[in-house]
Every structure is written in structure tokens, then in C-alpha cells.
Subunit: 99 residues, 10 copies
């Protein structure tokens, strides 16, 4: 099952640049692992914003929530999740290639 998420990151005023950089390193590793395991099917930056659009394939909503909660920056993210179904006009069941 596919879900698309929009994630907006807002860091608190008091966070140092070092802490931010450290979060970004951890975030990158976490995202890479999700991609490698085929959970995160795609992730893109929204132009001009500290936000992403990302797509997830999971079997289970508890697992999906755990996936979001596991993001190192989760406490600083607003996440909005939209469940997706097959569109009648899609010519394939799977648009994504194997990473």
C-alpha cells in the first residue's frame, strides 16, 4: 500500500547549527535505509521550502507510524499523510523501479 507524505521541518530558535547538522546526518542515514529496504519509494524537496514530498510502501499502519516516528527529526516535523489507491488510468500497478 502506498502513502504520500508532506513533511515540513521547523527547528526551534535555540537549536545550534551543530545540532542541526548532526540531525541532518542521522536523517540522511535513516532515509537511505528506508529507501534500500523499499519502504521509501521516493523523496523530493519542495522547491523553496524546508519540506519534502515522499512516498511510502508499507503493509501496515502501525509500521507506517513507527517509520515516521523513527525519523531523527520527527519532533521537529509536521507530517501530513495521504493514503493512495490505484488510479483507473494508471497503466501499471507499480511506477517505481527497484532501488
Amino acid at each position: 500500500m502506498l502513502f504520500v507524505a508532506r513533511m515540513d521541518v521547523v527547528f526551534p530558535e535555540s537549536m545550534t547549527d551543530e545540532t542541526k547538522a548532526d540531525f541532518q546526518v542521522k536523517e540522511k542515514a535513516y532515509s537511505a535505509d528506508l529507501q534500500e529496504r523499499g519502504i521509501m519509494k521516493g523523496i523530493w524537496r519542495i522547491v523553496g521550502e524546508y519540506s519534502n514530498i515522499s512516498i511510502y510502501e508499507v503493509d501496515d499502519l502501525d509500521f507506517l507510524h513507527a517509520t515516521f516516528q523513527g525519523f531523527p527529526m520527527f519532533a521537529y516535523m509536521n507530517v501530513k499523510v495521504t493514503p493512495l489507491a490505484k488510479h483507473p488510468n494508471a497503466t501499471t500497478d507499480d511506477f517505481f523501479r527497484q532501488l
Copy 2:
């Protein structure tokens, strides 16, 4: 360049079921052609809504607008377009397989 669109369809009260069905046939063919030509990289139904999330790869904004305007149901759609850039945490430049 990638763009994600959200399209919401609202048919007028006076439209007959025949006209709607005819639009849907034309829409399916138009979407299939966009997918075959690699312009529409993916399309999904938003669960519970007469709406889709779709992703487009184009070289040019005039072409992109023409692509939207060419949808048979364009006059009955609200389309919101978001430009996407490569995300630093993406492990690939291209998540989509060749249809």
C-alpha cells in the same frame, strides 16, 4: 524536472452520466499516452476522493501547462502544481522505472 500535481474533479450538476463516462474514456486514453511518452511518471487515486496525485517530468513550463490544459476534463478540474527538486537524502536521481 519533476512536478507533483493534485487534481480534484468537480462535474457540474447538469452533466449526464453518458457525458461523464465519455469524458472518462477520453481521460484514460490521454493519461495512457502521457505515461507512454514518459511525461506522467505516476498517478494515484486519493482514497475516498474524486482526486489524484500525479507526477510529471517535463523540460518546460509552457509544455507542462499545455499538458494540463490538454486533459479532456481540464475545465472541471482544480489543479495545484508543486515544483520538486532533488532531495539531499535521495539515494538516486530517478525513482521511476521506464513504463
Copy 3:
């Protein structure tokens, strides 16, 4: 997997009372069937509105969309779907009794 939906019904101005009543009869049968099959776990009226809050248990998002699309009044509904996960403070995995 559980999903909560809010459905708002808006009938077009031209619809006769007979057509509305006919829709309501069909809707009642459709909802009863979903309840009997354990797909619709609960449905409540939002006080003062022609709207409901309802909860669905399904294994699959395509099936969930098909369930919504199957509502006789689907063309006159705005449906907003929210995916639900187990809450850490829940004392049970299943709050609903078998209908």
C-alpha cells in the same frame, strides 16, 4: 488497519425529494452490509450536520477506495480519510465488538 472518515453530504439543488429518499434507502442497505461484514466498525451522525464520522477496518487501500466509491451517494459526498495506528495508551488492540 483502521481508518476514520468524515463524510459530508451535499445534494444538488435540482434533486427531488423522491430521489433523495431513494438514495437514503440504498445507502442504509449498503452501510448495513459493510457493518455486517466487519468493514464498517462504527458510524455516527455529527450533531447538527448532514455528515458522519465512520471507522473502517480493511486490509488494502484499493479495497478501501472501492468501499467509499461504492456508497450510493458517493457522487454527493466529500470524504476525508485519516489513517489510524495503535495508540501507546490504548489498553486493547481492538475497541470494537463483533456486530
Copy 4:
């Protein structure tokens, strides 16, 4: 009488992880008590958010407000309450089993 609530938790920037953890322990106990007493009929996490959807059965609005105000994290919650009535298409008066 049933009410559905959506609760969004926002902790202040200055709160330590220890304080947060302490709040979560107290919150869990408070929620368990409400469930045991049949006041909270269900509680679910909204996928991707630090939020819940929960359903309450109470006889009295003063009691309901006191119930919300009693949550250990109440000062850090935005709570929106929606009153629910029996839906004409519901096949039962009570969807919830006895916890």
C-alpha cells in the same frame, strides 16, 4: 452520549526529555483509567502526527470538560470536540465492546 475528540500535542521548546517522558507515563495511566471506567471508548494515533482521535461516553458536559482538563498534558494539547448522535444507518446503538 458520545463525543469524538482530536487532540494535538505541542510541547514547549524548553521542556526536557525527562519531563516529556514523565508526562507520558502519567498520561498512559490516566488514559488506562478512563478506558477501564468506560469513559474513553477508544483511542488511536493519527499516523505521522503527535495526535490522537479518541471517543468518549459521558452523561454530562461538565464531566466531559473535567475529563479533558484532567489529562496530565492538557496544557500542551489542542483539543477539538465533536458531539455525535446515532446515525440512521447504524445497525446497533453501541459499537464498542466492554473493555
Copy 5:
């Protein structure tokens, strides 16, 4: 238990002035009855709008929904209901006199 409602009336374009006037006569009678029975504790026009703010005292949410649904103009109203509890700064349990 007290609930405050905001009701906005929107008549369809096709409704004749006679039908509107007829609705208003029925609405007045219905409101008077609710006031006499102590269900509607107060009703006021929002200045400049075809809207009201009204307050209801009821024992039961099903009865409250039935009360709203019984308004002759219900199909042309948007109703938003807010549940009210005793305020700690209120000097009385009941602000309303017996009509």
C-alpha cells in the same frame, strides 16, 4: 447541558420568494415552540448576516440532532455546534430566565 450553535442560511437560487416566506413562517413557529419548551434558551441574529447564534439546553445528543434536523429550513442551513460547560468564573449555574 448547553450547546451553542451558529446557523447560516443559504437558499438555492431557484427558490421563489413565496417559498422563502413560507419557510420563514414555519421556522418562526418551530423556534417559538422550542423556546416555550425551554429547549432553545436564546436566539440572536448576527448583525449583517443571514445567520443566528442560538443556545440549546438538552439532556441528550440524539434529541439535540433531532431538534436541529426538525428545523423547517434544515436542508438550507450550515449548523456548527459547540458543547459548553460551566465556567469557573460564572457566578450562577443558569444565566437564563424562564421564558
Copy 6:
């Protein structure tokens, strides 16, 4: 003349519990005085929120603003004021009893 207000209280993160409690004592006295003088005709808690709905009878808008500005917690309140007129379906000019 009657006005209905919705007041939402948001205390700053740095305010101590003692200061909050002190504000609440002063607020209670201020509200009691307004009720005794017949200026505040009613005040109710919105269930689940740190908010109230309150109704004011005043002769003058400058006096009304001064009344709001006089609330001890005014600096921490968002206040939205709606002017009310007699509703044609009201069976009385005055729903409120003398406190």
C-alpha cells in the same frame, strides 16, 4: 446591545504556575464584578479548550473595548467579538435573568 465573544487564552511558555494561578484569581473577581453589574450576561467554557463563550450587554463600543482590555489576562487572550441583534423568531427581547 448584545455582543458575543469567544476568548482563547494562551499563556507564554515562561509563565510560572504561581503567576497563572494569580491571574486566575484576579480574572474570577473581574468576571464576577462584570456579572454583578449586568455587563456580562453569561460565560461558558468551551468543552476541551482553554476558551470561553461570553455575552455582553453594553451601551457603547468604547466601554465594551475597555471591558475587554480590563480583563487581567487580556494580554494573553485572543478575543473575537460578534455583534448581535434581535432575531425575528425570538419570543422575548431579553433571554437573561437578573443575576
Copy 7:
């Protein structure tokens, strides 16, 4: 007492140009009368919109609502009313000259 209103006019699709022109003639006469009587202190077009910002001086909210309801186009207007008080930085109690 002063109130500022924003009025947005939306004519139904079926209204003929003749009817619109007739409404506009009546509206002009009604507005002129309000200005002459010192009730409407000012009226301006919002640039680019079929909307106005207008200011009213009245002694009474019932009279103010009656004034709005008396506009020939009232049924086609959305009116939002904001009550105004003297500003501490105003150098006069009355900015408006006698028309």
C-alpha cells in the same frame, strides 16, 4: 458607535443584466439616503473586486442590522461587520465631515 463592514456581492448566474442594473439603481439611492442621514460615513470600492468597505455610525445594533437588511442587494451580499472603538492614538473623536 462606528462599525466597518466589508460587503461582497455575488449575483446568481441566472440574473439578467436588466435586473442587475435595476438593483444597482436602487442600491445607489439607498446608499445616498444613508449618507445623507449620516448613517453611512463612508463607502469605497475595493480595487479589483465587486466589494466595498463602508463605515456606519448608529446607536443601536437592531437598527444596524435593519440597515444592512434594507440594502436592495442584501440577498446577494456577504457582509462582515467589525465593531470599532476610539483608538488611543486618534487625535479626534470624529474623523468624518458632515456630508
Copy 8:
């Protein structure tokens, strides 16, 4: 040319009462000067809010922005500006008297 502005003031949590009072003194002088020079044609408090509605007559948008930016509290204001044109139903070109 006339413009109407709505200004909402939000002071930061850390600002002392002395600083606030100092700002208010400077603001009063600045507003008085604008009124004397015929730039600010009127200013009113929105009842219940730390906000004003004010009207400006200027020849130039750069000058208008400089006027707003010159407010001592500018850094703590949200300002929304609406351009105004003569309304066809206005009986005069100038509603304001000379201060």
C-alpha cells in the same frame, strides 16, 4: 489615493512592560504626526483586539510603505493593506474632514 490597513500588534514574550510603554508613547507621537499631515485620515481600535483599522491618503506606494515601516512598533505588527477606489454610490469624493 486611499488605502485601508488592518494592523495587529504582537509583542514578544520577553518584552518588558517599560519597553512596551515606551513603544506606545512613540507610536502615539508618530500617529499624531501622520494625522496632522493628512496622511492618516482615521484610526480606530477593533473592539476586543490589539489591532487597528486605519485609512491612509498618499500619492505614492514607496511613500506608503515607508510610512508603515516608520511606525515604531513596525517589527511587531502584521499589516494588511487594501487599496480603495471611489465607490459609484459615494455622494462625495472625500468623506474625511481636515484634522
Copy 9:
């Protein structure tokens, strides 16, 4: 003085394609004239929408409103106008070439 406008076009359901095409021809001529006279400095389609972003240079707000009202499709447009001033980081007073 420069103003940026966003215009959204919504045609009524009953308008024929011939009428729409006729409006578009008149609109094109009207826009060309505004560009030739240096009033409309630029106009662009918002990708995916029946909307434009356009920039106007005028000396006067009455003239600006008359310019908008003169658009053949004005009755079917929602127009939002934003006044613009010179930005301190602009390296020129005039970004536009003479058409």
C-alpha cells in the same frame, strides 16, 4: 506605481463554448491594448490553472479599478490586488522593458 494581481476565471455552468470563445477574443484585444499603453507590464499563466499573475503600472487607484472592471470577463473573475513598492535590494527602479 506597480500592483500585482492574481486573477482566477470561473465561467458559469450554463455558458456555451461559443460565448467563452467570444469572451477570450475580446479579452485578448483588451489585454493587448493595456500592454501597448504600458499599463499592463506583464501577464503570465499560472501553470495548471485558469488563472494569471499580471503586473500593472498606474498613477491612480480609480483608474486601476476601472482597468480591472473593463476586462470583458470581469464578471467571471476573482481578482486579488497587491500594492508593490521598490525593494531595497532591487538594482533598478524599473525591471520592465518598453513593449
Copy 10:
């Protein structure tokens, strides 16, 4: 390809005036460079707000995002980007002169 952006600047409460001034100097240099290189085609202040409307010509969305991210104040900006296409009523392909 052209994109229009709206940028709103919000500095944190703790930032000193010196830091703000330093940011503004760097921002001015960065903007000047973008203008000289023909990337930023125009930039204007929104009257009354700490915001700008600016137009960008770029070949690539990654480059566009990098351009936004390169603004010295990027961490304090909300940026909303809208893609633009040629409008059928435009009399030229390029409204902007060479800076």
C-alpha cells in the same frame, strides 16, 4: 522558465539588531548578484509587510531550489513558489529588460 515567489521574513525574537543588519547587507549583495546574472528578473516589496514578490528565470528546478537556499536569510523565510507559463494574451515572450 519563470517562477514567481512570495517570501515572508520572520526573525526570531532573540536576534540582535546587529545580526539583522548584517543579514540585510549579505542579502542585498546576494540579490544584486542574482539580478546581474539574469536569474532574478524583478523584486518588489509588498507594501506594509516584511515580504517580497520576486520573479526568477532558471533552466532547472534543482538550480532554483539552490538559489532560494542560498539566500543568507533562507532559514528565516517562508517561500512559496508558483510556476508561470506564457499567457495567450501576452504580446511578447519576455517582459523584462536586460539589467
